[in-house]
Symmetry: none
Subunit: 132 residues, 4 copies
């Protein structure tokens, strides 16, 4: 995950958040869950800094969007308590897995600060940069 | 738990995982929950490294397989939140308790990366080394 | 610390690092030590991600550049072990305190990945954005 | 870092440790500091399990052997307190960086349990597997 790509994803996410009139944090991690770029919009609650990072981390560590992860880690899911591993993970939408053209995991983007549906929408706007 | 035994269990688990065409992580811990041997198969998601360790730890700390632990630590179980003790435990199958011929706890093996049923199958393949 | 300012500081740091032909991580935090923006240049060692953040945190928490903090927190300094507080701080150059025109603390920038002298130079290039 | 290579490195380390009549722990991590394989020899002190992991992590995160890292992180070194970053690092020998034929970082091996000189010797025996 090059910084130029991660920065373009951050910019795309900021544009989409501005369009939706919400304030969020955005974290982009590489395929091994290490941070590449991060931005906090003016006015975003301080608590969502960490949430955006955990969403990105969760998506890449288990190679699925966090909305899908939420189903298996739910008390009625097949892997209840999975969210307690790896230093704490997040079980709701806003973390989107990034794949390269050949299908390999390229990293993940995590967005937090708005509703879960909006966070997902913003994360997908960022992800489209990779496939453009 | 001797390293020679733990290594033989890892090899048995790898063989069973290969037979099932899945990629997993395997952790073997001793009767005091300290790691003896660990292996990550090529292609296993990074998140399951920690899960395999937590499954082994959970099994040996409460002297039961994690599939049994899941029933008591579930929100509807008799000891809900037990999974939050000891630095975080796992409440789904794939951690198998190991006992010596005389019934004493010998350690545990934790497997993660496939379905819970497959993880359990692989962990049992490893456990059979001890009773062979 | 507005995101627009923090982003401009990141850009200035990236330009200076490119001029020096080094690869670094840059973290900008606000006056309460919370991250605003972060970037990792391609090829920077993974270990310096955390170092850049700790440098920025150290500078803002004690309201001095980390090169100054290093003198008091050194084993021969007046406050040896101060570096072990606040979850771990850094005692070498590369964290630069940011002040507003009226002298109030505005945040800090932390740079890591090159020599300490280069890290300081890059952090100062970022800091000049604030006073421009 | 493939498991087959990491396992061969563990075996080489065990053979060298046996030759030296010492008992150690060996951890092999990939280029992003994630564990691939681990082994604890019978009789190794429990405390060195974590030390072997931290040595491998330190080497790969800063792209140098831990004996070299020790010089810069020493109280009189250029980056005192660097050992307090990244969740705690180790500033003495026994972590050896692994490079591929093209010079790219391939991972690291960490050995702990004997004297530092012996730990280094054992780690180098493991590293030779990669270049063989």
């Amino acid at each position: 995950m090059k910084l130029s790509v991660a920065s373009a994803m951050i910019d795309a996410a900021l544009a989409e958040a501005t369009r939706l009139k919400v304030t969020v944090c955005i974290t982009v991690v590489d395929a091994a869950a290490w941070p590449v770029a991060f931005a906090r919009m003016d006015g975003a609650p301080l608590g969502v800094i960490d949430v955006s990072g955990k969403k990105a981390k969760t998506a890449v560590l288990f190679q699925m969007d966090t909305a899908a992860f939420a189903k298996i880690a739910h008390p009625d899911g097949v892997a209840y308590s999975l969210e307690n591993t790896n230093g704490g993970l997040t079980s709701f939408g806003g973390g989107v897995l990034l794949k390269a053209a050949d299908g390999a995991v390229a990293g993940a983007v995590g967005v937090s600060g708005a509703t879960s549906a909006e966070d997902i929408d913003i994360a997908r706007a960022a992800a489209r940069v990779l496939s453009a």
